[in-house]
């Protein structure tokens, strides 16, 4: 057996290894359970949920683009009760830590969702989605002003003792004020990046391809942008970072960790090759062994800046 310690503590979320899946790209864990041994994951992060069931956007909800895809699912979901009743029992039985991605259209809704999930067995942390480009109210609207982020995090903080992790928007000129606002208001960790607002127009019909007109870009295309934001966030962060954006293999995950991430999430790559997350875990372990590092935490922030 390997001597390397892969476990990490993501602001109170204890993970056996640094790798989770990105919200919205892995359903509620069950959908991929035939193809992926989800008990091997550091955690399962589920699709964003709000208080009540939500229908999401009309179709088309996605379009393929070079190096990735643009989606505007619009946060369709079963609501808190639907999630807890339909999906948590399976996850609980599997015994894998569950991170729930939550959203709302008001501070109160965020807080109430958090409160309602607080005592649910098996949930080990909440990711606050304040950066979804695909809903009119809520989502990105909360994520583009540090003051709003501070208020939102504080009010959710008051509602739950669960580890709290706001997910920041990438379309800002400086990420640091958002990191500070979040952690000063009680965030236990920071998650980034969400998809980058994007649009595709069909030139024959001259209409937007997505029914929502705009959507969010994910996949390889956004990876170098994500690395830059994670690196900058790490310079302001006193809490751990969960990094995502274009991970397709261990290399990108390791890059994020070197830049300062404690944990990483595999997103769009799940759709293309469901075994990616497991390959990333193994790849991190190989890297640590090859570089004679004793633990995953040694990798975090190990970037060398000569000048």
């Amino acid at each position: 057996m390997s001597e390397v310690d892969l476990s990490v503590n993501l602001g109170g979320i204890k993970m056996n290894n640094p790798v989770t899946v990105a919200s919205g790209t892995f359903g509620y864990g069950r959908e991929y359970a035939d193809l992926v041994d989800i008990t091997q994951l550091g955690a399962v992060t589920v699709k964003g949920i709000r208080l009540e069931p939500w229908g999401g956007n009309d179709l088309p909800r996605h379009v393929e683009v070079p190096g990735g895809m643009v989606n505007a699912i619009g946060l369709q979901g079963p609501g808190v009760d639907g999630f807890v009743n339909e999906y948590m029992p399976f996850l609980l039985e599997k015994g894998v830590p569950v991170i729930v991605n939550i959203w709302g259209t008001s501070l109160e809704e965020y807080a109430e969702v958090a409160a309602r999930l607080s005592d649910v067995e098996g949930i080990c942390g909440l990711e606050l989605n304040i950066s979804c480009p695909n809903v009119k109210e809520g989502g990105n609207a909360f994520g583009t002003d540090p003051k709003t982020v501070a208020k939102l995090v504080a009010s959710v903080r008051a509602a739950t003792k669960l580890p709290l992790m706001p997910k920041l928007a990438p379309n800002v000129s400086d990420i640091k004020p958002f990191v500070r606002a979040a952690q000063e208001s009680g965030a236990d960790a920071i998650s980034l990046i969400n998809t980058i607002p994007a649009m595709v127009i069909d030139i024959e019909s001259r209409t937007p391809v997505l029914s929502n007109k705009v959507g969010g870009l994910s996949g390889s295309a956004i990876h170098p942008v994500a690395v830059k934001l994670v690196w900058e966030a790490a310079q302001a962060a006193t809490v751990p970072i969960l990094a995502m954006g274009g991970i397709v293999a261990a290399e990108q995950a390791i890059e994020f960790m070197i830049a300062g991430a404690t944990s990483v999430a595999v997103g769009t790559a799940n759709f293309i090759d469901p075994s990616t997350s497991i390959a990333v875990i193994n790849g991190i372990q190989d890297y640590l062994e090859r570089h004679e590092m004793k633990s995953a935490t040694e990798l975090t922030g190990s970037i060398i800046l000569n000048k």
Binding site: T25, G55, L59, H62, P66, S220, V248, F271, P274
Partner: protein, 259 residues
């Protein structure tokens, strides 16, 4: 459901636009049921490209066949796959057609929609009629294979280049009426363009028959995780819900679908 590395066995042209790809698919092929589909990562596309969904056209002795049309980037690249090349295939996916119904089976196909219906015809416990439509004779596929199975085949093409001229729904209506006249119950199974499915569904509802429609939505994950492929559906209680075509479907009963 498996994520399987399949080797191409053979890959012949069927007509100018359509090709048949046969894959060594082991357990995946063995578990496949009519109406299910597979999700294929096409080698030759960029590694970041999404998978493409294809109905299962046949499954015999671990060999899974797909009948497909080159319509875009992915299917064009796919055409040049040589025997022995390997590709990643997830499947079998989706719910599949019910095999345990009753009544005269009427299969209604448009274009490559004939693919899952052929697999169905090989597995149904009774024989019936295939009604197949297409733009031109080029789009009418596999009818000899249905005839070999002992099925009756009725063809309609938009340009009249094969069978009767017009939409396949015209002979379908005729079949329905003659069954009705004979006091025969029917069960319809259909795969093809939305407009055709909708018409088939309406005729089924009107004639008080069951119709199983296979929907074709653009997909991302294929397993129910991403919510890219949803369809609004009626519940038995009259309320509606949003189903996933990939995992709750692709087969729905006509009455379920909110068009």
């Amino acid at each position: 459901m498996f994520d399987f590395l399949c080797k191409v066995k053979e890959h012949p042209h069927v007509t100018d636009d359509y090709m048949l790809i046969q894959l060594h698919a082991g357990k995946l092929a063995e578990q496949a049921r009519p109406g299910q589909f597979v999700h294929i990562r096409i080698p030759g596309l960029e590694k970041t490209s999404l998978r493409r969904p294809f109905s299962i056209y046949n499954s015999e002795d671990g060999i899974l066949s797909i009948l497909y049309k080159a319509v875009g980037r992915g299917t064009e690249v796919m055409q040049s796959l040589q025997p022995d090349s390997e590709l990643q295939v997830i499947g079998p996916l989706g719910n599949g057609f019910p095999l345990d119904g009753s009544g005269e089976p009427l299969l209604v196909a448009g274009g490559y929609g004939v693919a899952p219906l052929y697999f169905l015809a090989t597995r149904l416990n009774r024989k019936g009629v295939l009604l197949v439509g297409g733009r031109t004779a080029e789009d009418i596929l596999a009818i000899d294979k249905f005839k070999e199975l002992g099925w009756r085949v009725v063809v309609a093409t938009n340009d009249g280049s094969m069978g009767e001229k017009g939409f396949v729904t015209v002979p379908l209506l005729r079949e329905l009426e003659s069954c009705k006249a004979a006091g025969k119950e029917v069960e319809m199974f259909s795969c093809g363009p939305d407009a055709m499915l909708k018409a088939v569904g309406e005729m089924a509802i009107k004639s008080n028959s069951k119709a199983w429609l296979s929907l074709d939505k653009h997909m991302v994950c294929g397993v129910g995780a991403c919510l890219a492929c949803v369809q609004k559906l009626h519940k038995p209680d009259g309320s509606t819900w949003i189903g996933r075509v990939c995992s709750d479907g692709p087969i729905f009963e006509a009455g379920e679908i909110v068009w």
